[in-house]
Amino acid sequence: MEMAVFAVFGLLALASSLAVVAHKSPIYSTLNLVLTLFSVAVLFVLLGAPFIATLQLLIYAGAILVLFLFVIMLLNVGRDEGVPAGHRAQLAAALVGALVFAGMLWLLLRPALGTGPPPPPLGERLVSLSGLAQELFDEYLLPFEIVGLLLLVAVIGATVIARRPTPEELAAAAGAVPAAPAAPATAATPATPEVAAAAAAAGAATWPGEAAPSWAAWAPEAAGAAGGARPAAFRGGSAAKRGDGGGGGEAGATGAAGTGAPPPGATEPEERR
């Protein structure tokens, strides 16, 4: 019985993990990974770790892979062509390397199993949840607390990394430079192009690289989602980074308002409106 279950779910794990690796579409890879995780969870139960199997299903299949699916859909990841045509050698090298590595791993792991007697039949000691909890909260209490801290840091870090800059921050980034030359600009009206260029430079300096076109693509969606003053400020910020003349004036206005010192005779917005 045990042998049959091992054979079925071991082969299922192998086949589905091959599908994870080989399938071109990330969505199907993720769904195959769910199957792999389920099969390995069944093997955990066979090995006398029902609690770990439950955790695997709840955390991995239930939470992490849903996160993967969400990100795949959010980014609209296309099909992966796998190894490019000119790089078949890469696939061959990876296969050979993985085989050699697996052989070495096996040579390393096998002796560690020892030649001692086969394991005792599954008993209360290995399977019981209360025993596991006792050991976890007794001997491994400090690592447990540290893991809680790690998860907190991960949540905060993920939020900070993935979040979109707020319109206020964009306006501040675009308005930081125009706010200073705003006074000369009121005195000398022909300085307007320089102000717009400075706003563009500020945007480019703050969000380097190819950020500007990507923000231009994200901006309409945000403008549609948010209401009130947010879309205006957001549009101004993103347009200023594109170096757009019309948006530059708007960004200058919002930036100056953000600093709390709006130049009274800011001629530039007047012209645009």
């Binding site: 019985m1 045990e2 042998m3 794990a13 993990s17 091959l18 994870v20 690796v21 080989a22 990330p26 890879s29 993720t30 792999t36 995780l37 955990f44 090995l47 006398g48 770790a49 770990i52 695997q56 992490i64 996160l67 993967f68 990100v71 980014l75 992966d80 796998g82 190894v83 490019p84 696939l91 990876a94 697996a102 791993l105 096996w106 792991l109 199993l113 086969p118 394991p119 008993g123 000691r125 290995l126 025993g131 596991l132 050991e135 976890l136 491994y140 690592p143 790690l150 998860l151 840091v153 991960a154 993920a158 990394i161 993935a162 690289g209 950020a211 990507s214 923000w215 693509a217 994200w218």
Partner: protein, 105 residues
């Protein structure tokens, strides 16, 4: 152990090695960042299987507790990694790792 009923623990180890090798091939050959990530999850799971197998062989719970921690760390890793992919995608409009070659130039 009466033959035919119980599975030798070494078979679980062999399966773990095979899963790890499959994950390695995926992580080395895929170009899509998320596919690479999924391959790494397969490798993590193979390591978990080996740990639980040792726990069974030695009749000790330490392996299971280690797997518990590995699960927590994998959750943190997935959260931060996917956030990084979102940030990279916003900047570059792609997560094809062959095109993320800024440090090559």
């Amino acid at each position: 152990v009466n033959a035919g009923a119980a599975v030798p623990v070494s078979w679980y180890l062999l399966l773990a090695v095979a899963l790890f090798a499959i994950g390695t091939v995926g992580a080395l050959t895929r170009r899509n960042g998320i596919s690479i990530f999924l391959s790494i999850e397969v490798m993590l799971n193979a390591a978990n299987l080996a740990l639980v197998a040792y726990s069974r062989q030695l009749d000790q719970r330490t392996g299971q507790i280690l797997v518990f921690f590995v699960l927590a760390v994998a959750a943190a890793e997935a959260a931060v990694g996917l956030a990084l992919f979102i940030a990279v995608f916003r900047q570059r409009r792609t997560i094809d790792v062959n095109r993320l070659n800024l440090m090559r130039h």
